[in-house]
Symmetry: D2
Subunit: 343 residues, 4 copies
């Protein structure tokens, strides 16, 4: 059994911690380096006490890491910092980037949604969009894989096969999304304080301004073979983990259900529930699973698709490990069969 | 200043407790009787310790109450029990019913949504639908007012003026709703346990099966002057109080905002936020206020209307007190100006 | 009825918002000025959207406020900033300070617990410790009243009468306290983020290091007529409001209960529960009430006293209004009879 | 590698679900039977949707299970039902019982704390108390192991070595405990509803009435070689998982820390933090780890010991798997090295 030497850049954020959690029970991955710029020199257990018993290396600056003997790097740095960092890495090093920096194939789209020019367009050309179930072959061959947005993953799982098969109207798609708090990261923002967030729900980035729309546009347009735009309203729900996308589509509900069931039939992590059954974020918490429900509306020709996943696992770090498994020739599900944690 | 003698039937549930909370600071209402069938004989402070210091009467059976000297009864009994109880009350007694029993004007609609024939159709004929801002004159003259569903109220506030003015397409309305837990009442159901509910979000009664659709159909059809059906998916959010309705409409966003602003301009409890501003349930918690936001989608001709209210206050008990004020000739806002409780 | 003109300094924090909430239904207080240094010029409704409908003055810098026509100032500034600010106020202006700056009579004790010399020892000499039920007469006559710590209030209510009456051993007192999150203020600290705090409990400032011990030492020593030290461990509980002090004492449980019952018999806001009954923070949430329970341990001669209050109301802003009522000659309970908000 | 065939009796409760979660990644255990009396015939995925993808056997009645080919049974039935069930099992079948039915060696103590005579005193004689780190050798040789109470485990980890070594006063021990909601099980009780429990904290079973005191008395008396009673107040904290025991002892703080550090030095799951460091329940959530902190009080000769564990994992199902590993000759940590889930 080949052991894979792994480094995590940006290990002091939530996706970094989740990577460490997943790799801890991975049969072939071994963490040999952890970076954290501002916290360089600290024990990982001081940054995340829940990881103290894991026996991890200290946090380092990236420039101090010995990356030449590393097989793969997870890059969990903040948006807009990955492009420069990845560019400076050894040229043959495999990279799974969890930020938004390489998700949009067209650098012009990147500039539009993220408000600055792309700093590494030459790398963008080789980056593969990391939604495993749709780009598996490309990922196996890739050197650089771009993790998807957690909200984007939930929406695309629910819609993309329907556009590919032409069973829904591409001009009438509404994604109403409820997201857990950890999706916003470990950032010091007033609106992320417990006293601000608990016991309430609110929309944010409404009206077509959320950056994950760039991914929706890209993937849905590709799937439909024509330009597709969707309506998208994310909400913050007072829970730490979880994304629920409630998707309103025009199409025959049974055809919608059949299409999704067929498309995901052989996928280990994607479970289409029986027609009419409803999913819950708590049933995938802490796991790499996705549950998808489809119901018919009382209005003929309209269906509701509901997708749940854990934003830190299947929405980012679990997806990253799944892609790394493919890139390293390991079993795709290795380290990812942890059942959900409930209650 | 006239004092009004008030009785609350069904005081051992959450809406009963909320009525007591509101009446406690009401300048002219005085509680003279509280009923609770299974808990008859108990002190209210044993049922709701937070109300112990209020000096309230003991819980009684309805049949043991001296209702002849009462000015108005709030009936906060479970659905399907109010019809018989209200029928047996003294014929001239003013009643505000908080259940679903008198909300649907057409007894056939009641039978359809609630699965049993209406037990008091003759009373239904005189019942006024209690959405104060739309039926104020009728309520002032009414003997029997039917409180609205809490979800229904949120949806109707956001949509009804738009249908009246014809600024949206009546065939393309989606209401995606996030509701707090107390809306389900103090019922012993596994899915309402803390360990089941906290830290997650899930849809329920999806696909056009939720009973509040009966109210939407009734009110929207009346407003539009033609049959209107909406899509409606309620979700349970892990918070105790609050309803957020995210409503997707086809119409000019600025016209939508202007219509709602104009319609509610003089309403004390309804606040239309500046165009583009987003509301939050926590900003109305514990209060009788409603906040309404409108944003333009990036797709021309589509708008999102967002309505928040506290399901126990403006969504039920606060609305009930507001209507009672009108029926008793008191100041409409009396007892209802408590600011929201945040954090 | 005399109207009182009120200014709130430091209105952009949680205790500031709570003051505004309470004054909103106060029969004789009127807010004429709000200060917020960093947010000067902003509408209060932009800082706290739940207060937007209240019709409040804009935030100002203190130096820009017209304080000469103000009857009383609530000073809700951060610790260590009040001393200088209060010193600079007009000399006859009544002040209720909610910070820790004037709580400790002995400036040396202040220096010891807060790590810096007292900046206004001459004002300290006239400051009255604001635990209303113990210093009512002094407060009525005071110009400057120092609000107590929220944790300190809970502990003192449970213990002080027992020391005064000599019914417990002053050398065997343990206060184990569970506090809600809002007690830490609206501060941008990583450990106050929702994702860090929810779904867990932890101690902080253990081992006799919490600053409220200065208040315990001061009040208990005065009550006992000899030096008294207690053990005190505060914990953060994943809730927004509430303090629960579980106090272990050596003494006859029935004598403990009788002493507290007798001492608080005539106090409007303090409720000693029947012997053996247990309080809950949720039964006082949003209100100025305190519930106190006493149980006998199975070990003879040992009792447990449990005190609950809302840290933002009776623990700070409610207490402040109560004291202000006394200072202004208003009814002591004016504006403070709002029942708790449950659920 | 030997595979072990496992059955879980009482799989429809939270400890049952947690057993299934842990066994799912266990290298040598395989679930061959699940019982659930009232839910017999149902798919496990219908009872716990988060376990639907696991490919589990249907729930059966115990009498319908083929237990002759099973290597070990986990009995996760409600208290007071295990004694009869275990008595009826095949005589050589290994059993780990998670209920309270076999925890107290003296049947008279059982009768005293649980209010009914012991139904299987002959089995009690062979039952081993399942606190692994203290009864490892006995557990290896046992046929019947009794899982400890989750609160009891937390308290005993913090205190037992101190009594064995004589470094604390056995007559001055206070255990103030904060427990998560799942410890109360999946029971339909009003006080476990989300709307009742969230956003508040309260004590329960105070004054020496909680049944886990039977375990404390038993273990501490054995450790000290004389009768020992402790004071114990459990509280319910609004979180799903976690137990925090804050323990006040009279003894030299550094000796306390040194004793615990030495005693647990070689224990895989027990981590004594550096002197003065404070633990948090969220740092062990979902894992089999225990974190223990010790601080000196400012009063000389007094120390505070703080113990955290996950009640469903190390407090019940994780401990049960750990004991089963020993009984079956497997690696003690097999299946139990899952890192904590944070956030």
């Amino acid at each position: 059994m080949t052991l894979h030497r792994i480094a995590v850049l940006g290990a002091s954020g939530y996706t970094g911690a989740e990577l460490v959690r997943l790799i801890a029970t991975h049969p072939t991955m071994e963490i040999v380096g952890l970076s954290g710029e501002r916290k360089a020199g600290m024990e990982m257990g001081a940054v995340f006490p829940h990881l103290a018993p894991m026996g991890l290396p200290r946090l380092q600056r990236i420039e101090d890491m010995a990356l030449d003997r590393v097989d793969l790097v997870f890059c969990a740095l903040p948006h807009a910092t990955s492009q420069a960092v990845v560019k400076a890495l050894p040229g043959k090093l495999r990279v799974v980037d969890l930020s938004a920096d390489f998700r949009l194939r067209d650098p012009a789209e990147y500039a539009k949604w993220y408000g600055q020019p792309h700093a590494a367009p030459e790398l963008q050309a080789e980056a593969v969009y990391g939604l495993t179930e749709f780009y598996r072959n490309d990922i196996e061959a890739a050197r650089l894989v771009a993790g998807t947005g957690c909200n984007a993953a939930a929406g695309i799982y629910g819609i993309r096969p329907l556009l590919e098969e032409g069973v829904i109207d591409p001009d009438r798609i509404v994604i109403d999304l409820k997201a857990g708090v950890s999706g916003a990261g470990r950032a010091l923002k007033e609106n992320l304080l417990h006293a601000e967030l608990s016991e309430g729900t609110h929309p944010y980035a409404a009206g077509g301004t959320h950056r994950h729309l760039g991914e929706f546009d890209q993937e849905f347009t590709r799937a439909a073979g024509r330009a597709v735009q969707v309506q998208f309203t994310p909400h913050l729900s007072p829970m730490n983990r979880g994304v629920l996308a409630t998707i309103y589509v025009d199409g025959d509900p049974e055809a919608v259900h059949a299409t999704l069931s067929r498309r995901y039939d052989l996928e280990f992590f994607l479970h289409v529930l029986p027609f009419g059954a409803l999913p819950s974020t708590r049933h995938v918490r802490g796991s790499n699973y996705v549950h998808i429900g489809v119901v018919a509306d009382r209005m003929p020709g309209r269906a509701v698709v509901m997708v749940v996943l854990d934003n830190l696992t299947k929405g980012s770090s679990g997806q990253a490990v799944q892609n790394a498994n493919l890139m390293l020739g390991a079993e795709e599900t290795a380290g990812l069969t942890l059942p959900p944690v409930f209650p």
